[in-house]
């Protein structure tokens, strides 16, 4: 009897050894998504999540991502940053603790900047699809580029310059005015660069008015803008606020052209604004109607899955994932340092939003487009090269 139990014990030990030695099943690569699912710009978060799920699904359906001769499934961890700076940082910490290989997002600069601090401190590679403020990838204290933060879009400097040149050459503006959210990094950054570019071209901005996030009444500032005799109005503000600003400007008798930045690029802008925004312009990342074959394939897949045309956030999120996948494959191993190095070595990535090039910093070199709102749709107007 004793010998028998010994035998059984031996068998159990052997069994344990065998299972321990068995090759592990397919491991996964964890990628974090830090998105604005609720809060001020929910459509941005929804588009980001949709595109992320599409990108991950495509790779997983193809059997996974091949890294160093082995296929890995992608596991997507989604955190809501509530469109708040402090929640964005908390979400980044949560994803870091969950052991993600890299983090995609946040999108709005006001969230991306604090989240980038967390990414940098934890040596976690981060790609922001949509944050255009220079401070996202630049260390404020030293003025040096951050080591672990990249983005898939152009920066505000470029967008502010493009918008100013557009106002001068295409709109023939002599007396431009600006109304922007002073509490939001994105709006403030573009507005200041727009003003500087205008002044460099010898044109004075006649009214440079501000408000703070959540304001719904802009009549005081708009009255000042109209009294200053402005001929065009630049609104580098989010799609949730622009319709209010445009409608109030019209009610107060403003008749000039109004134009904005890539934050206008959500279908909801047209739904909320209606005929008030007809004929107006904004600078952005890509135009669905002049897309490349790669972009066409993405637009088709996105429309099939979600029943709507992808906006710029969706396209840029998709590109962020593409960029990440390419870098992970180039790195050849599942390691943050190696992937970060590979991300910085991407010399050319052909994405949905055009060709991206990195020249030593986390900011890609790429072109911008100007879209016009025509018949309730965003229509391609012109392209601006870097």
């Amino acid at each position: 009897m004793k010998r028998f139990s010994l035998l059984i014990g031996l068998l159990i030990v052997m069994g344990l050894l065998v299972t321990a030695c068995k090759p592990k099943g397919p491991e996964t690569i964890k990628i974090g998504l830090n998105a604005e699912l609720t809060g001020g710009v929910p459509v941005v978060g929804a588009s980001c999540k949709n595109a992320a799920e599409l990108a991950v699904e495509e790779v997983n359906n193809a059997g996974g991502l091949e890294v160093g001769g082995k296929k890995y499934k992608i596991e997507l961890l989604i955190e809501d940053n509530e469109d708040k700076a402090e929640s964005a940082a908390a979400a980044a910490q949560k994803l870091n603790a969950a052991g993600v290989l890299l983090m995609i997002g946040p999108n709005a600069s006001r969230n991306a900047i604090p989240a980038a601090e967390v990414a940098e401190a934890n040596k976690m590679p981060m790609i922001s699809p949509w944050s255009t403020n220079p401070k996202t990838t630049i260390d404020a204290a030293t003025g040096q580029p951050k080591k672990y933060v990249m983005r898939a879009c152009f920066i505000d400097d470029f967008q502010g310059v493009v918008a100013a040149k557009f106002a001068i050459t295409e709109l023939g503006s002599k007396k431009p005015a600006v109304l922007y959210d002073v509490a939001s990094e994105y709006n403030k950054g573009i507005a200041e660069i727009f003003k500087r570019t205008m002044e460099e071209n010898g044109i004075q901005v006649v009214a440079f008015e501000t408000y703070t996030t959540g304001d719904k009444d802009f009549s005081a500032q708009l009255t000042k803008i109209i009294q200053a005799g402005a001929d065009v109005l630049f609104l580098p503000n989010y799609y949730t606020e622009v319709p209010l600003q445009v409608q109030q400007a019209h009610k107060l008798g403003f008749t000039g052209v109004i134009f904005g930045s890539d934050s206008w690029g959500a279908k909801e802008l047209i739904d909320l604004c209606g005929a008030d925004c007809e004929g107006y312009f904004f600078t952005t990342h890509y135009a669905a109607d002049i897309a490349t074959p790669k972009a066409q394939a993405f637009i088709k897949a996105y429309e099939a899955k979600y029943g709507k045309t992808p906006d710029d956030v969706a396209a840029l999120t998709y590109d962020s994932f593409g960029l990440a996948f390419q870098a992970i494959q180039a790195a050849g191993k599942i390691d943050r340092e190696a992937v970060n190095q590979a991300l910085h070595n991407v010399s050319r990535y052909e994405g949905v939003t055009g060709v991206l090039q990195f020249k030593g910093t986390g900011d890609p070199v790429k072109s911008a487009v100007v879209l016009q709102i025509k018949g309730g749709k965003f229509v391609y107007y012109t392209t601006a090269q870097p």
């Binding site: 008015e209 501000t210 719904k216 005081a220 000042k224 949730t240 109030q248 009610k251």
Partner: protein
């Protein structure tokens, strides 16, 4: 000069909405000395009711004239919001009537958070506009632009406030309300049904907020968090005017409307708006803690 008149009009439009909401704060405080911090969110719910009812009534099937839809929408919002406020009073505040004052205030904050997050979870965070009940027409007289909607907001608010003032001063219900607010221990001995009067007060306060909400939704967007900022500004209006005093709340609302509009006109940036508004509150609390029209009371919170 034109700019000045234009800004005065802008301030009147905004001040009207603040005054209507401030009335709810002041009436509830007057009758049960509770600062109903959920009131801003009750206002938010009223704009959503107006949004859904208005959108349904404006559907192409009914072919109702815009003005009829506008009135029906406002009545529906008033009724639904009054019901909500009475339910909140019955289930959240009434059980705490004998509890320390702080418990009721914290409950009010909790109810506000509940309403915000319930709306967020069920309806979603996207901002919306109320349907256009009638085409917006902008008239320009001597360089001053004003729209028909702006005139409606200012006029309707003024009429509602006059009506409320009459109800409180001239009717039996108003007299009962004043009696309860004067002495809630003696009033029931005189045959005043205290519970019913408190419910009526909540209902009136909420339906006035709903009038404000419907008017507000015609020119601004509706979202789940809209009640927070407006609630605070209306609360300051009520305190500035003298909380508990109905005419004070009206005056306070217009003062805050002027603060909001004229801060960016006089100072270089609108960033100072909240700073100016809250400074006004602080200075007033130092020199006149009972507000412009309020009376000093020995009893303290």
């Amino acid at each position: 000069m034109q700019a000045l008149i234009q800004q005065v009009l802008n301030a009147l439009q905004l001040g009207s909405v603040y005054a209507l909401i401030a009335l709810g704060y002041t009436m509830v405080y007057g009758i049960i000395t509770l600062i109903n911090f959920a009131h801003g969110d009750i206002f938010m719910v009223s704009t959503y009711v107006a949004f859904f009812v208005g959108t349904a009534l404006m559907s192409r099937l009914l072919h109702l004239p815009g003005i009829v839809v506008f009135v029906l929408t406002m009545l529906a919002a008033m009724f639904a919001t009054a019901l909500l406020a009475v339910l909140i009073e019955r289930f959240a505040y009434k059980p705490l009537r004998q509890a320390p004052r702080v418990s009721a205030v914290i409950t009010a904050l909790g109810v506000g958070l509940f309403l915000e997050n319930f709306t967020l979870a069920t309806i979603g965070p996207d901002p919306r506009f109320l349907p256009k009940f009638f085409p917006v027409q902008t008239l320009t007289v001597g360089g001053v632009a004003f729209s028909n909607v702006q005139i409606i907001i200012i006029a309707v608010s003024a009429v509602v406030m006059l009506l409320l003032d009459t109800v409180v001063r001239r009717t039996m219900v108003g007299m009962a309300m004043r009696a309860v607010s004067w002495d809630k221990f003696t009033a029931p001995l005189m045959g005043v049904p205290v519970d019913r009067i408190i419910s009526i007060t909540f209902a009136i306060g909420a339906s006035i907020a709903a009038i404000g909400g419907t008017l507000f939704g015609m020119v601004y967007t509706v979202d789940p968090y809209m009640g927070i900022r407006i609630g605070w500004w209306a609360f300051i209006s009520a305190v500035v005017g003298g909380i508990g005093n109905i005419r004070g709340a009206m005056i306070g609302g217009y003062i805050l409307g002027f603060v909001e509009i004229f801060t960016p006109v006089i100072l270089p940036a609108s960033t100072y708006r909240d700073f100016v508004a809250f400074s006004l509150l602080l200075v007033l609390l130092i020199f006149r803690p009972y507000g412009i029209l309020g009376r000093p009371v020995a009893q303290k919170v």
